[in-house]
């Protein structure tokens, strides 16, 4: 059985049960979630279809997707998070970077800190703070904003509540001046003029490189706004196709999205400090590059080879 819930002590200890309960809600919903959802005021439990839409098709709840330079599950980002589990004496689960797992770990460490005494308690508290800063705050806020944008219902309210709870913890723990390691080492967006179109597309879909999250829904919306035909496939395929149809408009559309997100990130700077600044700067740089690339494309190049558009050297 889980360790008993820690009582809040003068507002200093983490709201352990709240965080655990919020962690559970990032899991596929089922009848078992009724009691948790009711306690969180999120009842009724969302249905499986909504869960699939948000978490399986748009916003995968894995830290490595948002922190890794590949923009995919796994890789060095997941290994680093797995290493953290080991460093705090836990056996890393098979998906150590799942949001639910990370929140569960945070709650567990916080409970240890609240229940223990002396050095073990201090150690647990320090570990919880490190987890929050390095492996949660480094991506969660960006992620949760997008969840709220996608769903105005239970998951939107869940995201807002989780954001509030984590923000509260950030304020309690204090904001470190140094960037989390994931962000410190992350390469930026690949300029197609230097690295080629393929690398450019990959990096645009890697949030930590682009500074913003490009969901399937974003691409659908972009196609709809530009009245472009949409070919079904994974995001990279869709994006490549859209760029082939109307590169200038698509690049500008993406630049607008990045710009808007840069502004959003910047608004969180007061609470999140260097992390918000990092994401804002990345997104702004992306917006600038996309705009510049878009400007260089003639107004309409129907049927143009998208790779030739985005690979065309501009400085020689």
């Amino acid at each position: 059985m889980e360790e008993a819930a820690a009582d809040l002590r003068g507002g200093e200890a983490a709201p352990v049960e709240l965080i655990r309960a919020l962690a559970v809600m990032s899991e596929p919903p089922g009848p078992e979630h009724v009691a948790v959802a009711e306690a969180l005021d999120l009842a009724p439990v969302p249905d499986q279809a909504l869960y699939a839409k948000i978490f399986l098709f748009q916003l995968y709840p894995y830290g490595s997707v948002y922190l890794g330079p590949e923009g995919m599950m796994g890789g060095e980002a997941r290994s680093r998070i797995g290493g953290f589990w080991s460093a705090v004496g836990r056996t890393p689960p098979s998906e150590p970077d799942h949001l639910g797992a990370l929140l569960g770990l945070y709650a567990g460490l916080s409970a240890e800190a609240a229940q223990g005494q002396g050095a073990p308690s201090r150690l647990a508290r320090r570990a919880a703070a490190a987890l929050l800063h390095e492996h949660l705050a480094s991506w969660c806020f960006v992620y949760l904003s997008r969840v709220g944008e996608l769903d105005g219902g239970a998951y939107g309210r869940w995201a807002a509540l989780l954001r509030e709870a984590l923000m509260d913890r950030m304020q309690e723990e204090g904001r470190p001046d140094a960037l989390p390691v994931h962000l410190r080492d992350a390469p930026g967006l690949a300029d197609p003029r230097t690295y080629g179109g393929s690398s450019f597309l990959d990096s645009l879909l890697a949030p930590v490189r682009a500074g913003f999250i490009l969901t399937r829904a974003d691409l659908v919306a972009l196609a709809r706004d530009l009245e472009l035909g949409l070919r079904m496939g994974e995001r990279r395929y869709v994006l490549e196709h859209l760029l082939g149809l109307e590169p200038r408009a698509v690049l500008h559309g993406l630049a607008s999205r990045a710009e808007r997100d840069a502004e959003d990130h910047l608004r969180a700077e007061a609470d999140l400090g260097v992390v918000a600044r990092f994401w804002a700067e990345r997104a702004a740089a992306t917006a600038e590059l996309l705009g510049e690339l878009g400007d260089r494309v003639p107004p309409s190049v129907p049927g143009a080879d998208p790779s030739s558009v985005i690979q065309q050297p501009t400085s020689s």
Partner: protein, 973 residues
């Protein structure tokens, strides 16, 4: 609502939900990192019927926990009982089980195959012709019970207690049957342990007074295995999952295995030594650690019995610890890496590297020897003794990440109506005077000892045990079992046909793991748990409001369970209570009435399991209801270094401390909820009981050894005729190169194949499909030398007593110069007999005097049955029964059968068929005689005129007087 208020609200909701015994955080959540049906829905669990796909058809189940019975791990199972048909549809893991934690190996789910096996035995049978003739008639349970009970009663009334014997394979339970035998007053407990784990047990026992290890793999820095634990072995599933956890946490895995087993493939350091040289390697590591000062001096000083060693063995009663260190260094200086390299064939530099790894573990060294070298070699018990030597040098005993003794991680609760009497007679067939230090009964010598002693057993039970197939020299067993002068009545208690049951008078069908009650507890991590095996259909029907009074009401056919069987049999042995036996099987609440299984376990759970009544009450359940619902309970976790526990003042009364620091008290032992057991330490001359040892002025619990300390030097071995083996040392195996002829090579037989389990699993179709044969592993260089051209070629493997014909598997996965063949295959049924068609070849047994032959008539093939899958059987090769060709090799000290064989391998002869066996039991008897010469019998070496050291473990302990050797037998005491 602010965050704090919301947090409190969630907390309150959790308390309320969990207070109802329900799950708040769902099992499928990553909060628990597992996916299991939440326990509050076990009564009505809904799943989609996979066979109905793509239609969505809901199936409703009751999930009822039980315990797997396919090996000794006792992993938790959840039976999915169909609510409509009340049939078990599948078995999965029980997440509430602390040992297995919801995980199972393939053998757990395959229980379903065993339950639905079309060849299983459903009714009691009695032989209709001569024993072994193969003619059977169905009888009622009453007929069988009355016949057997009459014989037992007569034997007891005529003071022939020793003519009643119960021979058990895997017990799969703790204490029920030994309690029964104690109640009967018979020294008739005969186990299979001396063909299994006695070697390892002996090595542990003479260090710690406890006979098995319980390594804390998950927290270890270095895991050292002489076993193939990641695929087979004792406690395979509970240990394997923790070994992998340890590896994920950075532990280094060192594996000694002559074969490239699945386990070896996961090792950071795999050593493939010449078989039997493992102790030489460990001694070289120990010697280097001693020379380099890489050991825990303080631990050694405090806890080893070095003073006793220096005083008795070295004649220096005033020696200092520093003096001992000098002696220790000298004693082991011959064991260099070069010496170990010459013995093992492994490069000295590699050994040095591994030594560095082991020494770096400190107190986080987890070691395990299961079978393997410990059960293969003459002196194999030194494998465990030298492994624990490494732990003892580092203080890695009962520490986090270290190696625990089993008893501290095991909980056997005290049963009701515990018999107070002990058997008055000593069973010389089970505990012969030639093997006074044997860890367990010399069971595999039974035919030979019966012949030597002119013995007679009037009622012989084999219980889930198959000595004809499992033991070496199986045809000597057949000869004994078919001789009614030696065995008066043989009752085989078995769920399924086996080679021994063919030679029984009664075959009595007993339930599989979901059809019987048992209570288990095994050492699998630093904690203590109990697991409850139960007939799941009985529990399911009771949930629906039915009253079940006899497990036969819910089991298939007339399959019974042993618990109820033994109660019933005992009442028929002593119907009026005049023998003083029946009282132990009478109801506690209603004396004079039969005790029921519900009452037996209900009493234990209410009175002998700390914490269980409270946990049950918190859910509004009785303790029995709680165990029926969850199937397991964790009694304690993080038991830690019991030997360092201070003895409380309440136990110290009129204390006497002897010159060796052993502390005795007049205070009675506090009542314990555990069943009595373990070693027996004599009181002091004035009758005080030993309560601990004084270490640096503190009175601590210490170890259950005669000295109260870790016994680096064993006075027992020293005084009982083996002074040269009293400290950890190296004994050259019987298959050491110097003991082989030029054309011989060692044959390793002691390994299992993954998913199969000895004789138990031949009726599990899923397992049989995966593993059904046992080829001879042979290295390409040997194959070339022996003119074996390709894998699949037939070869003759010649032992001391005969030969068997196997298929070669040419592989670099075996050390050159060594052959290997798993002893897990080669099941057979004589022509005309019933049997497991899925896993048994049909054979013709030929006999001419002492010469026996097995000739395979048909291997596997499809057949029609109630199960359509049997028509899909595609495999024909069912392996070879090699154990028939093994002579008995009892280690003269531990009593362990030394399984490895010295063999000659050559291409098969024209006419040889795969699976053929030829044996001469006269030659087998000569082998027995030859090994008997190695012994140092009690009548010549006992220091006190007894048959066996009183302190040593014994499953059923006769009264003290029975330990005394007959005066005529004592010549040298």
């Amino acid at each position: 609502m602010n965050l704090n208020e919301l947090n409190r609200r969630v907390s309150a909701a959790r308390s309320e939900v969990e207070g109802r015994g329900e799950t708040f955080y769902p099992g499928s959540s990553r909060i628990h990192l597992a996916a299991f049906p939440p326990k509050e829905r076990w009564n009505d669990w809904v799943e989609l019927d996979s066979r109905a796909w793509p239609r969505r058809v809901e199936k409703r189940y009751m999930l009822v926990p039980t315990t797997c019975f396919n090996c000794e791990s006792a992993c938790g199972l959840l039976a999915y009982v169909d609510r409509e048909s009340l049939e078990v549809r599948k078995f999965e893991g029980n997440p509430e089980h602390p040992g297995s934690r919801g995980r199972n190996c393939g053998k757990g789910p395959a229980t379903l195959n065993q339950v639905t096996d079309p060849d299983r035995i459903l009714y009691p049978l009695r032989r209709a012709g001569a024993r072994g003739e193969g003619r059977w008639e169905r009888v009622t349970w009453d007929e069988a019970l009355d016949d057997i009970a009459d014989r037992i009663r007569k034997a007891i009334e005529e003071n022939r207690h020793n003519e009643v014997m119960y021979h058990v394979g895997r017990p799969g339970e703790d204490g029920y049957t030994t309690r029964m035998l104690a109640a009967w007053g018979v020294d008739g407990h005969n186990s299979h342990t001396n063909v299994c784990s006695s070697g390892s047990r002996a090595g542990h026992h003479w260090w710690m007074g406890m006979d098995r290890p319980s390594p804390d793999h998950a927290n270890a820095k270095v895991i050292l295995l002489v076993s193939s634990h990641l695929e087979t072995g004792h406690y395979f599933n509970p240990h394997a999952q923790r070994i992998m956890e340890g590896k994920e946490n950075g532990a280094k895995l060192v594996v000694l295995d002559t074969r490239l087993s699945n386990t070896a493939t996961h090792a950071d350091h795999w050593l493939a030594p010449y078989p039997g040289s493992e102790p030489a390697i460990f001694l070289a590591v120990a010697s280097w650690m001693i020379r380099e000062g890489r050991y825990n001096r303080e631990f050694v000083r405090r806890w080893w019995n070095w003073q006793e060693y220096m005083e008795v063995a070295k004649g220096s009663s005033s020696a200092s610890f520093e003096d001992f260190e000098v002696v220790l260094r000298q004693a082991y200086e011959e064991y260099t890496f070069e010496f170990a390299s010459a013995e093992s064939g492994i490069d000295a530099r590699t050994l040095r590297d591994v030594a560095e790894v082991i020494a770096g573990a400190g107190t986080r060294l987890a070691t395990y020897n299961w079978r393997s070298a410990g059960s293969g070699n003459l002196g194999g018990w030194q494998v465990a003794r030298t492994m624990i030597f490494l732990c003892a040098l580092q203080g890695a005993l009962a520490t986090e990440g270290g190696t625990f003794p089993n008893s501290w991680n095991k909980f056997v609760p005290r049963p009701p109506r515990l018999p107070h009497q002990h058997p008055k007679q000593w069973s010389e067939v089970e505990w012969p005077k030639e093997y006074p230090l044997a860890l367990m009964e010399m069971s595999f010598l039974m035919p030979h000892l019966m012949r030597d002693q002119g013995g007679h057993v009037d009622v012989y039970f084999t219980r889930v045990y198959n000595p004809v197939w499992t033991n070496p020299d199986g045809f000597s067993w057949v000869e004994m079992l078919t001789d009614e002068r030696q065995v008066g009545l043989h009752a085989a208690l078995t769920p399924t046909w086996n080679e021994t049951a063919y030679f029984a008078d009664y075959v009595l069908p007993m339930g599989h793991s979901s059809e019987r009650h048992d209570l288990t507890s095994y050492e699998q991590y630093d904690g203590q748990w109990i697991g409850f095996r139960q007939p799941v259909l009985r529990a399911a029907r009771e949930r629906l409001g039915e009253e079940i009074t006899d497990t036969r009401q819910v089991n298939p056919g007339e399959v019974w369970e042993e618990n109820e069987f033994w109660i019933e049999l005992t009442w028929r042995v002593d119907p009026d209570g005049s023998l003083g036996i029946r009282e132990f099987f009478e109801s506690v609440k209603r004396p004079g009435e039969k005790m029921t299984v519900d009452e037996f376990y209900g009493w234990i759970f209410e009175n002998s399991v700390p914490g269980l009544p409270e946990a049950a009450a918190a859910e509004g359940l009785s303790p029995l209801e709680y165990m029926r619902r969850y199937g397991a309970f964790e009694v304690a976790k993080k038991v830690g270094q019991v030997y360092e526990d201070p003895v409380p003042d309440s136990e110290l009364e009129d204390v006497h401390v002897d010159s060796a620091g052993r502390v005795y008290t007049r205070a009675p032992a506090p009542p314990s909820p555990k069943a009595p057991g373990g070693t027996k330490i004599d009181p002091d001359a004035e009758g005080r009981r030993r309560v601990g040892v004084r270490i640096d002025g503190e009175i601590l619990r210490g170890w259950p050894t005669p000295s109260g300390r870790l016994e680096f030097w064993s006075r027992t071995l020293h005084d009982w005729g083996w002074p040269e083996l009293a400290v950890p040392t190296y004994v050259k195996s019987h298959i050491h190169p110097q003991n082989l002829d030029r054309d011989q090579m060692p044959l390793i037989t002691t390994f299992r194949v993954p998913v199969q389990i000895h004789t138990r699993s031949a009726n599990a179709k899923w397992l049989d499909e995966i593993a059904h044969t046992n080829p001879l592993w042979i290295h390409p260089t040997d194959a070339a030398r022996l003119q074996i051209r390709s894998t699949g070629d037939l070869v003759r493997v010649e032992t001391d007593t005969g030969y068997f014909v196997a298929k070669a598997w040419i592989t670099e996965g075996i050390r050159p110069g060594v052959a290997a063949c798993s002893h897990h295959m080669g099941r057979w049924r004589p022509e005309g007999q019933e049997g497991q068609r899925m896993g048994m070849s049909t054979v013709r047994l030929d006999r001419e005097g002492s010469e026996w032959g097995v000739r395979v008539q048909t291997g596997g093939r499809p057949f029609a049955s109630a199960d359509p899958d049997t028509l899909r059987m595609w495999w024909t090769d069912l392996g070879v029964h090699q154990n028939l060709t093994h002579g008995v090799h009892p280690d003269p000290v531990s009593g362990m059968h030394c399984w490895h064989q010295a063999v000659r391998v050559r291409p098969a002869e024209p006419g040889d068929r795969h699976g053929d066996v030829s044996v001469d039991t006269a030659r087998s008897f000569a082998v027995y005689r030859k090994w008997l010469e190695k012994t140092r019998p009690a009548d010549r070496h006992s220091p006190d005129g007894t048959r066996r050291p009183w302190w040593m473990l014994r499953p059923v302990r006769p009264e003290r007087a029975a330990y005394t050797l007959p005066t005529s037998a004592t010549t040298a005491s």
